[in-house]
């Protein structure tokens, strides 16, 4: 009962903060609202009994990625004067494109049916022991392949960041 109310409360907050990200004029405020939005999503993970996912979400997204975002935007010092002016045609076409995307999304969701799960759902899958066992037993190859992907991305970033390649 309490979890239902919490779910609606968190969903309301998540949608509100998501809207504020788009609507606020100041880019720093947008980033801070996005951080708050991530916190509400972490709250959803806790409601799903996935504490590990929730805390990793906070550490990785709020603690690392958004701090770097904030870093870059603070140093860029964006304000109204430096903002590039866009023509009315560009704005209009962007509005039409985004509107048709919304139409497609609503249309596809309207005809959707509820997915019936084939396997029995284990409510404790989000706890760290179960998650670790699943990742390292059933999904070992995808897990290792994705780690190699991350390593490649890291090496690529270092290569791009170098001023001169000897």
């Amino acid at each position: 009962m309490v979890t239902t109310y919490l779910f609606y409360f968190l969903s309301f907050l998540a949608i509100m903060f998501g809207l504020m990200v788009v609507l606020s004029k100041n880019p720093i405020h947008s980033v801070l609202y996005l951080v708050l939005c991530f916190f509400t999503i972490a709250g959803h993970y806790v409601l799903l009994n996935a504490q590990f996912l929730a805390v990793v979400h906070v550490i990785v997204y709020s603690g690392a990625i958004m701090v770097l975002f904030l870093f870059v935007i603070m140093l860029l010092n964006l304000n109204k004067e430096t903002e590039p002016h866009k023509s009315i045609w560009l704005k209009g076409s962007a509005a039409i494109a985004a509107g048709s995307l919304l139409l497609v999304m609503v249309g596809s969701l309207k005809g959707a049916t509820t997915i019936q799960s084939t396997n029995a759902f284990n409510p404790n899958i989000g706890l760290i022991e179960n998650l670790g066992t699943t990742l390292f037993k059933d999904f070992l190859l995808p897990f290792e392949v994705s780690s190699i992907l991350l390593l490649a991305a890291m090496v690529g970033a270092v290569m791009l960041g170098k001023k001169s390649i000897k």
Binding site: I28, F52, V55, A64, V67, L68, F71
Partner: protein, 348 residues
């Protein structure tokens, strides 16, 4: 979930909060006394007996001072930032086991507010959020010195979080749990983790100094280059909040270091002489606080002994020394844990 349970948890949380604030308050006094001792001076000795009322006088002074909010700054964020800093500093106390459990009227009360199954990650998450208070404060001041100080603080904290995280992974590998309560319980007697993970412990302590922005890593508030760092524009109790958050962080770091590596509330030999559970639990709390106070003294000792690093030296130490060392520690720990399997390949 009875009413009594809720009241007991609330009371425990309030006690932890109050003790944290009290210790942070007297850390400011201890800092000046230790500085005086190390520099052969007297330190504060006017307010009360041996200057014992000095923190109270400081608090009154900070509250009474004129509060200046720069006219061009972002007012809301400027006010929110110091509060955020203090909030994240206070949030870590809940997962630390302050003692075993006390039995009153047939009911056992654990002295840990909550034993999360991801306690270590919770601590780590709160530490990683702690950057925001400093960054927002530095940016909202609309001052170049503040912004540079905030940038330094956050890049320093992000850099040292990496080495800290890897040294914690090695600790998790040997203990096999992410719950802080279980880690403390495993170190009964002399099974302190520092004996298992000496290199990891050293890396963790160095990173704790960098995370709390304490000397020799107090680059964010380096006076010669940055005036007052991220709190240049802050005055009155808002600046007090930032300073207070630093002392709370120091207390919590000492508590975490004691719990992870130096046995927490465990003490060798005492269990042989005392068999009363409650007395043992209270002695455990006393023992943990003795370790914490030594940790705080150690923080101050280092501050008044070692000069400040240069910024490039700080970054080199973080990225080129501590991270490779912590990865080496991780590999060695893994090799030691798998030694039978590795040996059986060669000796067959």
């Amino acid at each position: 979930m009875t009413l009594g349970y809720v009241i007991y948890k609330l009371v425990l949380a309030v006690i932890v909060f109050a003790v944290t604030l009290l210790i942070a308050m007297y850390s400011t006094y201890a800092e000046r006394k230790v500085a005086g001792f190390l520099q052969d001076r007297l330190g504060p000795n006017r307010a009360g007996w041996f200057g014992i009322l000095q923190p109270v006088a400081d608090a009154v002074k900070l509250f009474m001072k004129e509060e200046v909010i720069p006219s061009v700054s972002n007012r809301t964020l400027f006010i929110v930032a110091p509060g955020l800093s203090l909030l994240t500093a206070c949030m870590t106390g809940v997962v630390i086991p302050w003692g075993t459990s006390i039995t009153l009227f047939g009911t056992s009360y654990s002295l840990q507010v909550t034993d999360l199954n991801i306690g270590i990650l919770y601590l780590f998450g709160v530490v990683s959020i702690g950057v925001y208070g400093i960054m927002i404060g530095g940016w909202a001041s609309n001052n170049k010195y503040s912004l540079l100080g905030a940038m330094r603080a956050s890049s320093q904290m992000i850099s040292y979080e990496v080495a800290m995280g890897i040294s914690i992974i090695a600790l998790i590998m040997t203990t096999g749990t992410l719950s802080v309560g279980q880690i403390a319980a495993q170190q009964q007697g002399w099974h302190w983790n520092v004996l298992v993970q000496p290199l990891g412990c050293l890396i963790f302590i160095i990173c704790a100094f960098a995370e709390t922005n304490r000397a020799p890593f107090d680059l964010p508030e380096c006076e010669q280059e940055l005036v007052g760092g991220y709190h240049t524009e802050y005055s009155s109790m808002k600046m007090g909040f930032y300073l207070f958050a630093e002392y709370i962080n120091m207390f919590v770091s000492s508590a975490v270091i004691s719990t992870f590596y130096f046995g927490g509330y465990n003490m060798p030999f005492v269990g042989r002489f005392i068999h009363d559970g409650n007395l043992l639990a209270i002695l455990g709390v006393v023992f943990l606080f003795a370790k914490i106070f030594f940790g705080i003294f150690f923080f101050m000792w280092v501050r008044w002994t070692i000069p400040r690093f240069r910024y490039d030296q700080l970054m080199n130490l973080g990225w080129k020394t501590l991270i490779p060392l912590s990865i080496l520690n991780l590999v060695l720990t893994g090799a030691w844990m798998m030694r039978h399997e590795i040996l059986s390949v060669f000796i067959k």
